[in-house]
Every structure is written in C-alpha cells, then in structure tokens.
Amino acid sequence: MSKIELKVNGRSHTLDIEPATPLLYILRNDLGLQGPRFGCGLGQCGACKVIINGAAVPSCVMPVSSVKGEITTLEGLASNGRLHPLQQAWIDEQVPQCGFCQNGQIMTAKAMLDKNPHPTDAQIRESMNGTLCRCMSYYRVQTAIKRAAKTIANASPVFGKEVVA
C-alpha cells in the first residue's frame, strides 16, 4: 500500500492503495465514478477510457502509480452546467443503443477533436478505430462527431462560455 495523489475532474484525492491497482477500479470503486467501465480489461475496446494529458487512454491497463497528470472522465466534460458539444451532439443524433461503450466513444472523440478540430472522414475512422461498439452505433457516432466539430467551430472563441448553441 502507498499514498497516491490523484486529480480527477478538477478535484484532488489522496488514497492509500496498492500502487499496481489499475486506475479503472479506483475511479469506479473508490471515487464513485461510473463513466469509465470495464469492457475487456485488455486495452482493446475503449470502454474504460479517460483523458490524461490530452490523450484518451484505457484506464483498465494503467497502474495507478503510473498516472502522471490530471484525469478527466466522462463526468468531467460538462462545464458550467452545460453538456460538452460532443455530449449534446450524442443526444441530438440519438447515438447510443445500449450505451455501454459510449464513454469510450465520447472520450476518444474529445481527445481527437481537441487535437484536430476539423477531422476528415478518414481521420475520424482512423482515430476512432480502436473504440468498439457491439451495438454497432458507429455510423451515428461518426455523424455526431461531425456535428460536434461544427458546433465547436461556431462557438468561438472557446467552449465553456455561454456560447454553445
């Protein structure tokens, strides 16, 4: 056991925990977050993804001791009581079927758009390709990403002010 400090969605936590514990179980079972979920535990599906240092990474295969940087989970995307444009696009396009994978879809899309606000169709497919959906909501995920990209582009200068349509 050792003391580990984690900053998640803007809040700091100190935990006394076995350092090899995968981050996923700490987020879910100690911090009560339920955006990231267990799908494979192998880094193959994306269900457990969180954003660290701008990258969407699988938390299921990441020992908590190796986390360097602030963690953002699905719960941390909204700001000022408003959903992130991606989340809103997910509602507008009615993306989920069961929804179990959608944490991974949204977090992967967020990391992609933050780096590349105007992705081509091919870039969307490539960036999203490791994020699986067994209900096959892919077509709508791709449509919703394009919709969110437009919303973000129109909502100058930065998302977070009262500018989201």
Partner: protein, 805 residues
Amino acid sequence: MSVSAGVPEQIEEALVTHRRGFLKSAGLLAVSFGAFVGAWTTEAVAQSSGGAKGAGPYPDPDFRQIDSWIVIHENNSATFYVGKTDPGQGTGTGFRQLMSDELDIPFDQTACIMGSTDITVDQVGSGGSTAMERDSWPMRRVAAEARRVLLEMASARLGVPVDQLAVSDAIVTVKAEPSKRVTYGELIAGKKFNITLTGNNVNSVTGQAKTKSVPELKNTGQSPQRDDIPAKVDGSLKWAVDVKLPGMVHARNVKPPFACAKLTGIDESSVKGLPGFIKVVSKGNYVAVVCEREEQAIRAARQLKTTWQKPSTAPFPASEDLFSYMRAAAPISASRPLLAGDSETRNPESRPIVVGNPDAAFSGAAKTIEAEYEIPFQGHTAFAGAHATADPSNGQMTVYSNDMKSYGMRRCVAAFLGMPHDRVRVVWMQGPQGFGRTAAEDAGCEAAWIAREIGRPVRVQWMRDEETAWDTKSPAFLVKMRGALDSDGRLVGYEYYARSCDYNHLGYNEPDTVLIAQLMGSRRARPASGSASMPSDMYAIPNRKMAGEVVGLPIVWETPLRTGNLRDPNGPQPTFAAESFIDEAAAAAKTDPLDFRMKMIKADTNDDAGFRRARSIAVLKAAAEAYGWDPRPSPKPIGTGKVLTGRGIAYSFRGQTVVAQIAEVEVNRQTGHVWAKRLVCAHDCGLVVNPESLRHAVECGTLHGLSRAIHEEVRFDTEKVTSLDWFSHPTLRHADVPERIDIVLVNGDPNPNRPDLPPYGAGEASLKPMLAAIANAIHDATGVRIRRVPFRDDRVLAALKAAGV
C-alpha cells in the same frame, strides 16, 4: 448536472422543476432525473408504487389491477410500470408514446419504469422483438381503461354525463362550458384506481374501454427523443455494473481450463496470503474466489492453483474441422419422434416441408444447380462480461441484473437456490446489449449462490476471456441446396437441407442448464434439441422440399460451445444460404436477381397471411428505388483495377416484418478485403411507433449483420475455445462502417391507412438478409461465390486466387 443542456434556460428550469416535482411525487427524490431512468432506487420506487416493501417478501404485482400499471401524481403526471426491459432499442420511450396516447396525457408528463420483478407486472421481459407487436397491447388496454375510469370520476365530480365531457392533455373539461375542468391529478393523485381488470393472463388483460384507432394516436408515429440517452452520455446513469451495497464484496470465477474438465484439487494456500482474500467457494466443477476489492478478486482468481482432469474423449472437433464433422455426424433430433425425456417440444420447423413434386421437377429440369453453405458458431460477445450483484439480506435474495428477462431470472434463481418465489426479486438495470445472451444469463445465479454461501452482498463479473469463450453461441449451420430451372430459366424445383450444430441449446433462465448448474452437476438429463430452421418460405416455387436436422457434439454439457438464442435466433444462417442460392439461380438463368425474386413473389399469393407478399413487393421496390438499382444479371463484367465493386440484394421476413437489403461492396483484389461502401435497408413492420428509434435499431441491426458477414467466428481446438478477446473473435469497427446507410421505412400494407394497422416486431429482422446481401455483392463484383461465413480477407483472397480473379 443538467440533462437538458441546449434547452433555453427558462424551459430547462421548468423541466427540472417539473421533474423534481415529478420525482417527489413518485417517491424518487433520492436520485437525479438522469439516474431516474435506470430505476436504481428501487426501494423508493417500490414504496411509491404501493408495491412490495424493501425488506421483502416480494409478491408479484397483480396484473389485474390498474394500480400495478399506472400511477397518477398530484402534478398531473403519470408513471407507467411495465414488465418489459429496454436494452437500448428505445422500447421504453415507445411504451410511453402508446400509453400516453391511450390515457390522453402529454408524453412529456410521463415516465416509464421497467422490469423489476417486485414493482412491475410479469410481462417476461424482452426478447424476440415482441415489445410493440405483443406486449404493448395490454399496456394500451390498461391505459385506455384508466382513461375511462378517470372520465367517470370527472363526471361525478363535475356533475355532467361522460358523453358531455372532453379530455385532452390529462385535463377533463365540460364540452359546453370549458372553464369547468378538472385534472387527472386532482381526480386521483394519492388514491388508487382500485379497478380490477379481466383476462386470464397478462397478455390478455383488459378493461371495458376500447383502444384507439391508428388515426386517433397522436404521439405514436412521432419521434420524441429516447429518454434513456441523456443519462447514458453524461455519465449519470447507474448501470447494473455500478451497484454498490454496504458490506459488498467481489467474486471472480475460475473457469475449467478445458471443456468438460473435472476439478481434482484446489490449493487454497496459493491465494491465502493475498490482500483482501476472503474465501474460495466451490461445488462440483464450479470455483470462484471472493475478495474485499474487485482488483483483488481478479488477481486471486488468476493466481488460485487448481488441478483438473481432462475428459477421456475430445469434447468437440477443432473449428477448422467443424463442417466435415457436421457432414459425417449422425443427426440427433430432427426426423425422429419425440423421445421420453426430451426436454422441449422440438421446433415444428424441423419437420420436412414438401410442396408439389420436387423429384419430378428435378428429373425434368433443363438445368440443375447445387451449392453448400457453411456458417460457423458466432458469439454473442457482449461488450462486457456477464455480471450481477446479489444481496442476501433479511432472508431474501435481491439480484441486480441486466437480464433482459428479469422475471425468468427470478424464477431461475428461486429454483436454483430452492427459495420460495416471493423471497427473490430481480431489479433490472441497464447493461451491455441483450441480444439473447442475457436471457440465458449466468452471473445472476452465481452471485446469488455465492451471496448465500458467504452471507454478504456480492458482485460477480465475468472477464473478457471468460465471456468470449464461455458465452452462449449462435449455432453453426451447414446447408445443402439444389435448384431445378426449366427451359425458360424459371426456378421450378428447390431443395433446402440444413444441419445445425445446436444440440445443447439453452432455453431462457433455466435453473438446470445455467452454467453454474451444469458445473455443479445439478443439470437436466437431456439437453434441448435446438433447431435446424428453415428460411422464410418466401417464394412461390411450385415444387419444393425443405428439411433440417440437428447434430450434436461429442460432449454436450460443461462446454463453452453451448448454443443459445442470438438476435433473430437461427434466422441469419438459413437466410444466408437461401438468399445466396436464389442469387445463384438468378445467375444461372442470366436474369437480374431482383427481377428473378419479384417474379416468384407475384406468382402465387394464396398464403398471404398478414399481407407479407404484398409488403414484400413494396419493400423490395422501395429498396431498389432508394439504391438506384439498374436491372442486369450478375456478375457484372469483371473489372481490371485493384478494387472491384458490385451490388447484391437479399430479402426475408421474420414473423410479419419484411426486410430487403442492398449492399454495395468494394473488394480489394490484392488483399481480399471487403468493404461495404453503401447499405440500403427497406423495412416494413406495420405501424411505426417511433420512426427515429426504429431507424436507429434497424441501422444497428443491419451493421450487426455486416459484422457477422465479414468478421465473426468462434474458433476452438479440440478441448477449448481459443477465441478469447476482440482480436480472436473480431467485431465490426469504425473503419468498416459504410460511407452511406439508407434506412427506408415502408408501409406496404394493401390498405396503408387502415385504422387497425398493427405494429409488428422490429429490430431483429434487420439481421437476417445481410449476410447474403454481402455475399451476393461480392459475387457481382468478382464473379466468385463465397459460401463460407465470415468473408474474411484471407478467405476471400484465396477464393479470388482459386478463380483466377
């Protein structure tokens, strides 16, 4: 957090206030609206509905009482309690649309609670795409009856006969004097209907009131957004995997390393010192490890030393030998009478169908063709492993589960543990998919058994390798077909003969076939025989013979190759064969494959129950029009480039629902890779309750069909399944998704505006023709016919090479 961001602030506030008020009156204050949809706080819900108290026992809600179905609150809103589950197709929203129409209450003032056995009536749960087709009817009749009763109450209150009253938006007014009014909430909130309905069972339950005709339905046919989606994208939904209870511990299974292995030893000292270790629980060949924390249980289950003895015979052939095994095996079930001890009546579809004189048609044919098709085992491979949390408090057993048939799980757990029915309840919560896997759910019984063993609430979840290897499988099929063409190129003789490897087919939530029961040895004597089903009998071919037989594997119990119902069970396999073969016949006749089909549909309509043939014609036409189909025979002249393109069509019906699909593919001649560039699906399921939800479900079903066509296959050696993850049992990915998908909703009823147009089942049907549509498109592009599913790159490339393409 707001769940309605994007809505103007004052409206949002009103919504939230309304919802808060709503939740308060529904006894749901403990949760935000976002979490509300998951019906997580069942204690609160239970109390508000007048149903069972949290501590148990949990008697069944009486389906003959309106109060079991509908609660009206002070603020003039209503909660509907229905015995269904919605694993993500939007049926819950659909029920609200239909029930609010019958009750005459605004859709936005309603909510729907589903599938928890102590507070919602037993409508079985979900499955078979029966939500609208069958189960919405009792809901509608009860809502109509509630409206009738409310009108009578208003009549007494306002002193005016019912026929002089009008009702709209849950407000009753006097027609002649509209200022005289009373709301539903004022009439009944806080009180009970106390109206007893009639009907022998939940499906036939009814009051005196009549349901509305189609033109009178206002919300039905609209597309309100699905009410489960906001909480699924903002992270607020409590899923079944999120249940946390005081004192709860975690368990993980230790599966036999080989099929049919016998446990010979457990070395508990191998895990005793591990942090958080509580106990190894075991009976027969079932083993699980219980620890305080989840990651501790995962580690301990991996580290536990166990010894096993292999069976003396190999339990199954290796996957590459499966079809030669199936060809040679002696059939087990079909074409024989029922035997004493057969656990289920055999599927009547397994009896041969003979029409006309097929033998004569073949002997007089101008041309005969034959082909054989192979469809392997395919997995459910749910997005997450089976999971459940069980709480043994108060001498009861509560199971939190995503079992799509939660009522079945309740019966199963009660029987498995030998507990009285009313001491067990299942609280249904959202989870990954359904698709039949959760109707033959395994974790519920495991959690309940362990919880009783250790006397604490316990959460069980299967790991990825367990789920992929040990979930229920869609049976493998081997189909032989023959066709006789006359000199005009008409198909005058047709033979379909299927063998399915389906002898250990699991039913729904059976206490003597659920995996833990098999492993503990408390299983039934004989497995269910499954079925070697026929394709839909769509074409008026004058002489035809269709038969199917089931073959078994050498060992049927305690194996990961147990079969079960996967989304349109045993539908895609026969349809792949039959609709590929029709294309082969069209090619042999050098005719356009759509035209070839159309002629056989028109030929004879004397068995047009539900107007399926009339709707087939409409659906095929709609698909062809949406695609821009140009009539010509297949294959087209083979191109010279690296990428060959082609299009294929296939169609089918499931129940009364008709589906036609067209695929346009690109085949890479150097890699064998197939990409479906464009898909069209035309779909007729009668009355459409929510067109957007339906389009979504059909689109996803269509893509699931594509996934099964190009990726999915369970692989195994002679002692274990070797498909263990997303690489060894691949699934569709973002890069596979078509550039364009068109979903065309068709109403091909001969009288499309008839006031009694019923809803038929939707969703599963869209899986059915897809495999053949892709195979037909590959053939059109390359001239090569692929008769083995899935059309993986290596397989397609080998076939192209062999054909010199």
